[in-house]
Subunit: 213 residues, 2 copies
DNA sequence: CCTACCGATCGGTAGG
DNA sequence: CCTACCGATCGGTAGG
């Protein structure tokens, strides 16, 4: 692995764990095994390094998302939710970085959200509204507000999942994360769909499975 | 207002906004209008000041919570949820401080949660289980995991509520926070109670209101 | 509550 | 990728 990638990896972990202000360039350089001055040859400033770390995380997500939206399967919501959970639980540092950035630089993050999140949020909200017309989605749900809460539930929840897990079993079993994510998906689904909608969704999935055998 | 209280107020706001590492003692002292050395007369170290800020926030919450649990009204859950939302939306810095502490010092926060949160979480989880037996609460809900998600939904959601709100309406209307909290309470309730449970709850509330007139 | 000062560490530069 | 070094700022102390 080349030095640049090593620096990005270490910096991602450190920024996620201790934040921008709590991480020094020397600490990153030490862990990589080079001098601070050498790090500043690859990234001209601490700010540039931080930007690169964020860009890397967000671009990975921008690769995954359009593929999910384009899939267009019958139970699109199910797949979208599950893949989002998988993406952030695969590496919780992604979630921690986004959460930290939202706390540290709310103004910058607001602009980024407006550009990167708002458009496809409107698209999914459109699906939700169509679901309300057909009776599959609860009539009293607020599509945009609901989606924002679910995104936050996933991103924020996985950012602090190990801390939440400890309350379930003080010895810290790894099964706690599973228990938390299963309940998270239950909350997200049951607060969106009507009983009729859930039945229809299960019916479609059973049909799809039967057809593929 | 005495100097000590002024220092605590300014420090609370700064720690919530920029975190521990991103806040300097000089910056706090400047805003209060004293010298850094004078600040260190009232609080012997930055760490002590930080501890005092956290203690102040958590002790306020420990005043409110037992009163809510002791109330023992029929729709206890409704009141508990609503008051928790009110407490943190009254001053979102409380939520930001707790969220930051969870990210910065997960080990310390885990111990604190085990001591301060786990006991009464078990109590409320007991209520939820009784609700499952009587059919008011959904049978497939995981009481402890559910409660942790709702706590996170409230605390984390209010910590970043202004950032989430901007996606709803780019000009940033204050009504967005209302829209978000209303949807938050809807998600929390509908994912916990069965339709029968909600009907019973509304019935009880109507009866209570009629009785009080 | 102040002035004056401390060593340590910060991000960053010069020059090789 | 290194050594050597910069000014600025950090948390904290001495002494009044």
């Amino acid at each position: 692995m080349d030095v640049r990638t090593q620096i990005l990896d270490v910096a991602t972990r450190r920024f996620a764990a201790q934040g921008y202000g709590g991480t020094s360039l020397s600490a990153i350089a030490d862990e990589v095994g080079i001098r601070k001055a050498s790090l500043l040859y690859h990234f001209p400033s601490k700010d540039e390094l931080h930007r690169s770390v964020l860009d890397q995380v967000l671009s990975r997500w921008n690769e995954v998302l359009p593929r999910l939206l384009a899939a267009g399967s019958a139970d699109r919501f199910d797949a979208l939710l599950h893949e989002t959970v998988r993406f952030f639980s695969e590496d919780p540092d992604r979630a921690r970085l986004i959460l930290r950035e939202t706390l540290d630089n709310p103004v910058t993050m607001r602009e980024r959200l407006l550009v990167a999140v708002a458009p496809w949020l409107q698209v999914i909200a459109g699906y939700v509204r169509r679901g309300q017309e057909s009776g599959e989605v609860r009539a009293d749900a607020d599509p945009e507000a609901y989606l924002l809460h679910v995104i936050h539930l996933v991103v924020g929840g996985l950012a602090i999942s190990d801390t939440l897990g400890i309350v379930l079993s003080p010895d810290g079993a790894s099964s706690d994360i599973q228990r938390l994510t299963r309940e998270l998906e239950r909350i997200a689904k049951v607060s969106l769909f009507t009983d009729e909608g859930i039945e229809r969704m299960n019916g479609r999935r059973a049909a799809a499975h039967a057809g593929s055998h």
